[in-house]
Amino acid sequence: MKKSFSIISTALIFTIFASFYVLTSVFEFVYDEILFAAGSLETKNYSAEDFALKDFVLLENGSIVSTSVDPQLIVYNYNKPCTMISLKFSVNKYQGEVNLYYTKGQEEFTTAQKIWGKAKNDGTYEFIMPRGNLTNIRIDPANFSGVEFKLESAVFNPQRSFLSYFKYSGEEIFMFFAAAILLSCLSKSIYENFYDNLHGLCVKFIIKKKAK
């Protein structure tokens, strides 16, 4: 028992953690579906006019041109949950990094609450948003001046596939291993101590009895 304990407990902890991750994803999927059905989440396409523009100039043809190295598209007081934002645009020249910032209260935008954009093959940027109510959302689509954007779509809460709920970020995977390993070590130590202590107590008890 003593030898196999650490293997069993470690396996158990990893299984529990893995199933916790999977169940959370399933729960999130179901929860979002319910919210959609209840109407608290709705798919909405934003156009350039719907954003508060910072360091952007709106042209007559509907496209926007950046005027600094840090142009921003901001939605203030969104105050709703948001599952995902997908962004598609065409540009006249290389635009640089595409990022998204959010806040969960009236605080400043910080890098702690930042999502890096990654273009899919068709050029769409998808940002998986954190759970809960989001107060302000800011999209930083460029880090050059003079980039002309033709915003094709900026969809809030688009339909998310079931599988996309199971795409874990590097941070989540890291935390999975860190927490599972730490807990395994903890359980091993606890077991060891209890085993020794209990064993010691039993031996003492038996000796006393025999002495009597």
Binding site: S6, A112, E171, L182, K188, S189, E192, D196
Partner: protein, 751 residues
């Protein structure tokens, strides 16, 4: 995938040697990786100096296979010797890291990656020659030590050079050092090994001191500082762990480790000497001479002397051997260059004289004022400059001392306690000579403001902090697996207080010393919950294994600090690909140009927006094996006189001088990265049609008359002294008749 397998083969060779060492030479399995990698580093450096690099790699593989066969076929130690938590952790984490790096393919990111480390490694790989002997476009730091670069060469031997393979070669040296830290732990207490290995793996982040906006590069950098510091810690780990095993002969692998530290970097020699000094001190005080299997006849004090002599000799041999090689290439090694341009001995003597308020030598006289400024800044920096994840230098010392005190209190082994006391005094004190040495280099080598402002202070000092903490953790690890002191409830409570004091003291020190923002409850929610969990378990009867408790606490604290200070999307854990977008575009430009050139040639570079020269270095790296000409040092270039410009331009070069330089030099191509109006107006005559960015072929017609002309001042300003400053430059008349450029490659993404 191909590169993954190619790198994997090199790693496999290292593993085969490890198996040989464990089974045939009785090296404890946790220590084998460090010994093998150090020897590999020395072996390839020697081969590089002898000029037989590619041949030596094949020999290496032949030896690896031979050793593998011998250890697997012939009877040696049983295979159980192979299995230890440390060795398994090393294997798992190395393979994991290899998969991660191969999948993500990170690129170089920082200045010196391009100006030295990465470029030097790429040159070595492309030419199979040690980089000082390779032609490059500029007079650079050829005197830099090649140890880590040569490891990158080995792991890049098959296939094409890739930065992530260089990162892997650096990282497994660090992982081997971490394995050495917990090498004494058996499977019975595997949790101690896992926890301490985890704590160690946070140590490369020691130089990260705040939540940053930018990507931070631990594990993904070509800089040698942190690997060198961790290798020094690995030296301590190897020594303390090897003294625990029966075969004291293993201590002689330390010679290889000392040599490897020396060859890591310019400052490697003082680091290696200090490491050797701490170890020697321990040998003299805490070891029995008879136990050292040096040579049967040599006993007692003589054996100790011989051992200490041999590790110090290893430092000397590798240092002077490499200097000799540089000397044979005609590189000046007698002086250290920089502002003072003195020899190493002169530097130390001058520094010490000034330190004690005496009159320095003649060469040191101009530095007296700078000396006092630099040393005032150095003293302040140690107490107030928050340069590490733990806070100031003072709080790093506080942290190390806390660990040592706990390790001391835990152990019932008298010898081990003496050892901890010695490390606590000598190890920490030996920081002073190192700190002084760094101070001297700021005074005598770094130029003006750079020295006074202590440029890159955290890099130079951080490596020593890393070594100190690793040393402390090794001793804690040994305390945890040895005979315990406290087995009563009273002792348990004492340990509980002691263990709690660790994070508290840590927090108090860092808060007082710099008024660092105290973490809010929101930041610490999860760690706090876990912390409560531990407290409860202690109350439930955990008091008997206080050391395991301390290890857990340490691991939690490391994770907590990491979680609090290091956003995972800005480091190796979860960095986005987009941070390497710019450099990947640059590399693809360079690849397309190299393709249209077709062969190795020399290229003149123009970038009117590149005031710092950063892009010059990036293209110099990316275009290799084609060589980028020094190109006057880069920056905006124009004929100021002809255009009648009022404002300054970085390079004031007339069209005649420009043409004459290109005519006389061996440049075959001209690469325009970015241009401005002044450039177009100045040199339009040499181009056929409109000037755009892109790669141009230089066409020369014979019989141009070139004469010398007195140079105007500004043009020389960016040329380093060693590129032959002269008052005269070449010039030619009617340049457009003899020289013109034709567009070869527009370059897909050039600005």
């Amino acid at each position: 995938m191909v590169a993954f397998i190619q790198t994997g083969i090199c790693f496999l060779a290292v593993c085969l040697f490890c198996i040989f060492l464990i089974k045939k030479l009785n090296v404890p399995s946790g220590l084998a990786p460090l010994a093998v990698l150090s020897c590999t580093l020395l072996y390839f450096t020697l081969a590089g100096c002898l000029g037989i690099l590619s041949f030596s790699v094949w020999i290496y593989f032949a030896l690896a296979i031979g050793c593998g066969v011998i250890s697997l076929v012939f009877k040696g130690k049983s295979s159980n010797a192979l299995l230890s938590p440390a060795f398994l952790l090393f294997l798992i984490s190395s393979v994991g890291l290899l998969c991660l790096l191969a999948a993500r393919k990170p690129f170089f990111n920082e200045w010196d990656d391009f100006s030295l480390w990465g470029t030097a490694a790429k040159m070595t790989v492309e030419t199979n020659t040690l980089f000082p002997a390779v032609e490059s476009g500029f007079p650079w730091a050829v005197s830099q030590k090649p140890g880590l670069i040569i490891m990158a060469y080995f792991f890049n031997f098959f296939g094409e050079f890739a930065p992530w393979r260089l990162f892997f070669s650096y990282d497994i040296i660090m992982l081997a050092a971490f394995a050495a830290v917990c090498s004494c732990v058996t499977f019975k207490k595997w949790q101690t090994a896992v926890l301490l290995y985890a704590v160690c793996s946070f140590i490369p982040f020691i130089n990260v001191y705040t939540r940053m906006i930018y990507f931070t590069s631990p594990y993904l950098t070509g800089y040698a500082d942190i690997p060198m510091g961790i290798l020094m810690g690995g030296g301590f780990a190897f020594y303390y762990s090897a003294t625990q095993s029966k075969h004291k002969g293993n201590l002689f692998w330390l010679c290889a480790i000392m040599g490897a530290i020396t060859l890591c970097k310019d400052t490697g020699m003082p680091i290696a000497l200090l490491c050797a000094a701490v170890i020697s001190m321990d040998i003299f005080i805490n070891c029995k001479g008879n136990e050292l299997v040096f040579y049967k006849a040599v006993k007692g004090l003589w054996a100790k002397l011989a051992f200490c002599g041999s590790i110090i000799l290893a430092v000397g041999v590798s240092y002077f051997g490499y200097s000799k090689f540089l000397g044979s290439l005609g590189v000046a090694t007698a002086t250290l260059g920089g502002e003072g341009n003195m020899s190493a001995a002169e530097l130390v003597i001058n520094g010490l004289l000034m330190l004690f308020g005496l009159n320095p030598l003649a060469s040191g006289v101009p530095f007296v004022e700078k000396f006092s400024l630099v040393f005032r800044n150095m003293t302040n920096a140690f107490f107030t400059k928050e340069i590490t994840i733990l806070g100031t230098g003072l709080s790093v010392f506080g942290f190390a001392i806390c660990i040592l005190i706990i390790a001391y209190a835990l152990s019932a082994d008298k010898l081990h306690r003496r050892r901890i006391a010695l490390f606590g005094s000598v190890g920490l004190l030996s920081f002073i000579p190192y700190y002084l040495f760094i101070g001297f280099t700021y005074v005598f080598i770094f130029k003006g403001e750079q020295g006074i402002n202590l440029i890159d202070y955290n890099r130079y000092v951080g490596c020593y902090y890393a070594a100190l903490i690793i040393g402390a953790i090794v001793l804690l690890c040994l305390s945890a697996i040895k005979e315990q002191r406290f087995i009563s409830l009273k002792g348990g409570v004492a340990m509980l207080v002691c263990g709690l004091a660790l994070p508290c003291a840590e927090m108090i020190i860092s808060t007082i010393s710099l008024g660092r923002k105290i973490p809010t409850f929101d930041d610490l929610k999860i760690p706090f919950a876990l912390f409560c969990l531990i407290m409860i378990t202690i109350l439930l009867g955990y008091y008997k294994k206080a050391s395991a408790f301390v290890c857990l606490l340490l691991a939690f604290e490391a994770l907590m600090l990491f979680n609090y200070l290091m956003p995972s999307h800005l480091c190796i854990v979860d960095y986005p690909d987009v941070i390497f977008d710019d450099i990947n575009i640059l590399q693809s430009n360079a690849d397309s140009m190299n393709k249209s050139i077709g062969k190795k040639s020399k290229i003149f570079y123009i970038s009117c927006e590149d005031y710092t020269g950063g892009n010059w270095f990036k293209y110099h790296y990316a275009l290799y094996p084609s060589i980028l000409d020094y190109s006057y040092g880069g920056g905006d270039i124009a004929d100021r006189q002809a255009l009648g410009l009022q404002n300054n331009v970085t390079l004031d070069v007339s069209i005649g001088q420009f043409a004459a330089y290109l005519y006389k030099s061996s440049n075959e191509y001209l690469f325009i990265d970015s241009l401005d109006v002044n450039f177009v107006n100045s040199y339009q005559a040499l181009f056929q049609g409109e000037i755009t960015t892109g790669l141009y072929k230089i066409n020369k017609k014979p019989d141009a008359s070139i004469y010398e002309q007195e140079a105007s001042g500004t043009q020389q300003s960016r040329l380093p002294n060693s590129i032959a400053y002269s008052d005269y430059v070449w010039c030619m008349d009617n340049p457009e008749q003899f020289l013109n450029f034709t567009l070869v490659d527009k370059g897909a993404n050039i600005k």
